[in-house]
């Protein structure tokens, strides 16, 4: 992947409007599809992993890192940085591809995903991967951890914002709602949740296993500011992330309606691709489809 011409300063200027220029939009999307190629390649080479969620939330994750997160790959522990907490740790190929893109570690490391001695573990681990803030794997703990980080940085008077990406399946975990209640109680307004609402989980379509709807109403009832968006519409993603930075006195959540497996036709909206790796033929097809989008932009 060639170096992007998109401006990727460590401290991006806060967006002055809630709109993206057409040039920005095309470049963002192009890079997101390059990152999707990395995700599929990682899972293909590892012969295991969870491509569905990672491909589904990549657009919102990428816009967040490219345009909103204040971070510095040369100084990953910069105290004033914004924090990204991946609560659904199985979808880690997405964040690994983003971090490698920014140079937190060599892109070649991506191809060691899930292998012995790798910096990129099967589920995210702050011990192993530069730029990864927390550990994840067991579901439902990310919002509490993000809340703790946000409360601590607020105590220190730091400007940091904390973004917690969760799966929709995690909304079935009781701890998510313990954290939601606590974040509203303590008015943790530097905390922004993002729910990857892709409606699949391991055993099948989420509404059939244990429905979490109506999600927006639940968070509203818990005292949160809620943004309900199409997670593949860059204007909507950009707008929601801008607005959640302006909310005061309460935490905010972006319910990102995502297509699981987005970009790879046979994976899209198929719960079987929550986890699993493609055959060589399926891999070739995925690369072709993703390249077609990149070349069309």
């Amino acid at each position: 992947m060639s170096a992007p011409s998109l401006s990727l300063s460590a401290v991006p200027t806060p967006p002055s409007s809630h709109r993206l220029s057409p040039q920005d939009l095309a470049l963002l999307k192009k890079t997101a599809y390059e990152l999707r190629k990395d995700v599929v390649t990682m899972v293909y080479r590892a012969k295991s992993g969870h491509p569905g969620g990672a491909l589904g939330h990549l657009d919102v994750l990428w816009v967040l890192f490219a345009k909103f997160m204040r971070h510095d790959p040369r100084n990953p522990k910069w105290p004033d940085r914004d924090r990204f907490v991946l609560s659904n740790g199985h979808t880690c190929p997405g964040i690994y591809s983003v971090l490698a893109h920014f140079g937190y570690f060599p892109r070649e490391d991506l191809w060691t995903f899930r292998k012995m001695g790798s910096h990129v573990q099967g589920h995210i681990s702050s011990k192993h991967t530069p730029g990864v803030e927390t550990d994840g794997g067991s579901l439902g703990m990310g919002l509490s951890q993000g809340k703790g980080i946000a409360m601590a940085t607020r105590l220190d008077g730091r400007p940091s914002r904390v973004y917690v990406l969760m799966s929709d399946g995690e909304q079935q975990e009781g701890q998510t709602w313990e954290a939601a209640m606590g974040a509203a109680h303590y008015k943790v307004d530097n905390l922004c949740g993002i729910v990857d609402y892709n409606r699949i989980q391991i055993d099948g379509p989420l509404p059939q296993i244990k429905d979490v709807a109506p999600l927006a109403a639940k968070y509203k009832a818990f005292g949160w500011e809620v943004f309900d968006i199409d997670g593949h519409d860059y204007e909507q993603i950009y707008d929601a992330l801008s607005r959640c930075g302006e909310v005061r006195g309460r935490p905010s959540v972006i319910i990102s309606n995502n297509i699981p497996g987005k970009g790879v036709s046979y994976m899209e909206n198929t719960y079987k691709w929550h986890h699993g790796s493609p055959t060589p033929e399926q891999y070739e097809q995925a690369m072709k489809e993703l390249d077609a989008v990149i070349h069309s932009l």
Partner: protein, 320 residues
């Protein structure tokens, strides 16, 4: 070490915790305390009153309590997370494993109301498995203070520990017998009384009855060494090996299930370093029941008389 037996004074170790937490809070501005709606019982309320901006009541949400403390530790805070032992070490065990121990985050998990001496609340509140659960976690330091004096020193000692620590406290008042200048070091056991016939290695509330039992045994011609093994992990293997070498047998005493606690920690050292016969005095793999702390201590064989009796029989079984 010269100890006053019988001890005149009784105190709550959790009171000592509350006071010590306020002390370290004054010394370190990054100390924060979190509780789960039990702050008046765990005594974190003392800290909360003094430093309201650094005290966070998570409500009845133990999972959230542990993971929030983890997040704060990641941001440079020095969190003390407290609730009852059953709810912290029990209900929130996986949060402690995944959010705290895996990354070796410096969260101080100080849990009260452990053991059978919780009393009348009964088996549901009598945590007898916490030492097994916490010992099994990599990176975790496990400490059981013997009295209020040691509790205060433990809290001061864990405040700048780089990794996580579990400190186990009780509900009831217990004798204050360690001198004010008592020296506590994480991972160091203290020989409180010398003796060549048998070693009583105890932790927590059973250290004092072990000392009393040693007095009884002395009058019967048995010289018992008494060791306060307040740190269960990392355990003081040298002191255990010395006891095994210099005395004829080891008795362990803990207010915990016989599985996974002090007895097993000690037996592992004996098996690897210096073989010796071991008699564990502990709860014998059963749940508790309602009663006063005193009644329960007697029921489970933790009184000085019963400890002396069991030790005498054990020494007799060792042969000439």
């Amino acid at each position: 070490m010269q100890l006053s037996i019988p001890s005149k004074e009784q105190a709550f170790t959790r009171d000592a915790y509350g006071d010590a937490l306020a002390e370290v809070g004054a010394l370190y501005k990054d100390v924060v305390a979190l509780d789960a709606d039990l702050s008046s019982s765990t005594k974190t309320a003392i800290f909360g009153k003094k430093f309201p901006e650094r005290f966070f009541n998570m409500g009845v949400s133990e999972a959230d309590l542990m993971s929030t403390a983890a997040g704060m530790a990641r941001s440079g805070k020095i969190p003390f997370a407290s609730t009852f032992a059953i709810f912290g070490a029990g209900k929130a065990w996986e949060m402690i494993r995944q959010s705290i121990a895996y990354s070796s985050l410096p969260v101080r998990i100080v849990l009260t109301h452990a053991g059978v001496t919780v009393g009348e609340d009964g088996a549901s509140h009598q945590m007898l498995e916490d030492l097994a659960l916490m010992r099994a976690l990599p990176n975790m330091t496990v400490i059981v203070p013997a009295d209020a004096v040691e509790t205060r020193k433990v809290i001061h000692a864990v405040v700048d520990l780089p990794g996580p620590a579990y400190v186990r406290l009780s509900r009831n008042k217990s004798p204050v017998f360690l001198p004010a200048d008592y020296d506590f070091h994480i991972g160091k056991a203290t020989v409180l009384r010398e003796g060549r016939d048998v070693s009583l290695i105890a932790c927590g509330q059973l250290v004092y009855p072990a000392l009393e039992a040693a007095e009884i045994l002395h009058s019967q011609g048995i010289q018992a060494r008494v060791v306060n093994m307040s740190t269960l992990k990392p355990i003081d293997a040298d002191t255990i090996a010395t006891c095994a070498r210099e005395t004829r047998g080891i008795v362990t005493l803990e207010e915990h299930n016989v599985i996974g606690g002090l007895a097993e920690a000690v037996s592992r050292v004996l098996a690897a370093r210096q073989p010796a016969r071991l008699h564990p005095i502990a709860v014998q793999d059963r749940f508790g029941l309602s009663g006063t702390a005193e009644e329960l201590l007697a029921f489970f064989g933790f009184t000085k008389e019963k400890i002396a009796e069991q030790t005498r029989a054990f020494v007799a079984s060792l042969g000439a």
